[in-house]
Amino acid sequence: MAAASPSQRATSQFLRRLRRSLPWYPFIIINAVIFVIFNLVPWISMFRYSVLKTDLLSTREFVGIEHFVTMLSDAKLHKAMLNTVWFTVMYIPLLVAVSLGVAVLVNRPLRGMKTFRALYFLPNITSVAVLALIFRRFLSPRPDGPINFLIGLVGIPPQRWLIDVNQAMPSIVGISLWEAFGYFMVIWLAGLQAIPSELYDAAKVDGANGWRLHRYVTIPLLRPTAAFIIVIATIGALQVFGSIFILTGGGPVNATTTVVYQIYSEAFNFGRFGYASALSILFFAIILIVALIQSRYLRFGEDVY
């Protein structure tokens, strides 16, 4: 047999590689198909529909970048963005403080500690629909409603909660906090327990104790955990929807209309699927930018997987 030419050698190499590759594809084919149908195609359709005016039924009209121009003057959208920021700004610091506080509280070798941790996790295991069913009743504006009665015990007059323009969003923050703190407590605990006790011993030998022990050992070593928590909690907070959908429907007077609720509403209440697609692009960009800025600022994500 004559010496193979370079192109022949490349071909045979290619065939060998292909033969080695083929048996592996069946292992990822289902993932790939699901990915194409439920992610890639919707992803493409999001961009295609963002330049259309359509209700998916009769109308279908090319409008170019009109939707993106509309966004600039859409007062409801601006209100929704402010609401989303307002929710996040109230929620994140509270969440970080409460979940860390509780984690420190239960990070001790005391009897029954595991049970307490499990009880704190309880609100997190259930669905937003169940939480909404419960808290719609608890936050009743009646003077003898559960929360109003309890605050009455310390002399605070009954409040209107979910039906009050100023109190609706803080109420949603409270419910979200109640639901999530147990989850973040677990992450804090994992971070706290990953700190080797030798470091504390070493610091003690160097004369540190009490607060200084935390200042120079605990806090610096919890930094990656804190960064992780802030980033994922923020991404979650920007997407808050279920509790708002069930409890307030975006009201009263749009006081709890968040960006996600606005997208939902444009699509499913008004049938503006083109505009809703354009808003989805905007929303995705916002989340991406926030996540990137936070990751960079918090120096998180050196090791993604």
């Binding site: 590759s21 592996w24 292992f27 990822i28 289902i30 993932n31 699901i34 990915f35 992610n39 992803w43 359709s45 998916l56 509780v102 420190v104 509280l105 239960v106 990070n107 070798p109 307490f116 499990a118 996790f121 309880l122 609100p123 295991i125 669905s127 937003v128 629909a129 169940v130 909404a132 419960i134 808290f135 009743r137 608890f138 559960p146 009665f149 309890l150 989850y183 677990v186 992450i187 994992a190 971070g191 706290l192 700190i195 030798e198 504390y200 011993d201 050992v217 605990t218 994922i232 997407q239 279920g242 959908f245 996600v260 939902y264 699509a267 697609s277 989805s280 929303f283 995705f284 997987y305």
Partner: protein
């Protein structure tokens, strides 16, 4: 100093006063998390209760199942319950198996496009799902899949997070196992199913629990892809109950039905849930 589950900072001399204060604080927090569920249960068993009013008797007299009967009679709750169980079970099984397969391929495979696909998957993982809900609905409605189990289960039939989780699990198994299987004449499927997969069962169990809970509790997506009452999952159906403004007793009966299955899974599978969170948290 004893080795404990806790970090060194809190290992101090036992101090009874301090300990009592800590227990009081912990109990106070526990009351806020458990109390609402106890009241939920109590109200659901109370006769003719229009509103929840305080002070409340925790043990109703008489105890009645009337609210549950009314709920099942007046709404499609039984059907929603069936839908939720069906969708959650199929989604969990499907998602865990496909993750196990893909995780194996990404850990051991040597195939064309591996890195490109891997990075694409990573891209989806960091993508917020809510941003994609409207386009997903558009695509599903064009495919005629709205109000079908295919739509409810579809996206759950593969898990990118699960693929990464299991890839890590497979990577921790020494290559010797693969080599031994190959020498014994096993093909890829056999070495996956018979040799490697049995060793990642704990990771698969963790994933299964997380997927089941996630699917059971999901709200936005199943709400969007179902408009007929008989295709709703329990959470979506309960959302409509909450918005319909019925009796408190009825609402709480619905809440109990939605809560109990997750409570059961949590009690039985707690350690897998906590492990799953710690994994995603620490790894993150």
């Amino acid at each position: 100093m004893s080795v404990s589950e806790t970090s060194g900072a809190s290992v101090e001399k036992p101090n009874p006063v301090r300990e009592t204060i800590i227990y009081i604080l912990m109990a106070a927090v526990a009351i806020t998390t458990v109390g609402p569920f106890l009241i939920m249960l109590s109200v659901s068993l109370t006769q003719d209760i229009r509103f929840i009013t305080f002070p409340i008797e925790l043990i109703p007299s008489p105890v009645t199942l009337e609210n549950f009967q009314t709920l099942f009679a007046r709404t499609d709750a039984l059907r929603w319950l069936f839908n939720s169980v069906y969708v959650a079970v199929i989604s969990t099984l499907g998602g865990v198996i496909t993750s196990s397969m893909a995780g194996f391929a990404f850990a051991r495979g040597d195939f064309w496009g591996k890195n490109v696909i891997f990075v694409l998957f990573l891209g989806i993982l960091i993508m917020p799902d809510t941003a994609l809900i409207v386009p997903q609905f558009v695509v599903l409605s064009q495919l005629g899949l709205v109000n079908t189990y295919t739509a409810l289960i579809g996206p759950w039939f593969a898990s990118i997070f699960g693929t990464f989780l299991l890839r890590q699990a497979y990577l921790s198994i020494p290559r010797d196992y693969d080599d031994a299987a190959t020498i014994d004449g096993a093909n890829l499927w056999q070495s996956w199913w018979q040799v490697l997969m049995p060793q990642v069962v704990p990771a698969m169990a963790t994933l299964a629990v997380l997927r089941f809970m996630g699917n059971w509790n999901s709200f936005f997506y199943p709400m969007i892809v179902t408009s007929q009452s008989d295709m709703r999952t329990l959470t979506v159906g309960l959302g409509t109950v909450a918005r319909s403004g019925g009796d408190a007793g009825l609402d709480m009966a619905g809440a109990v039905i939605g809560f109990l299955p997750t409570l059961l899974v949590f009690v039985l599978m707690q350690r897998y849930i906590i492990r799953g969170i710690s994994l995603s948290g620490v790894k993150g």
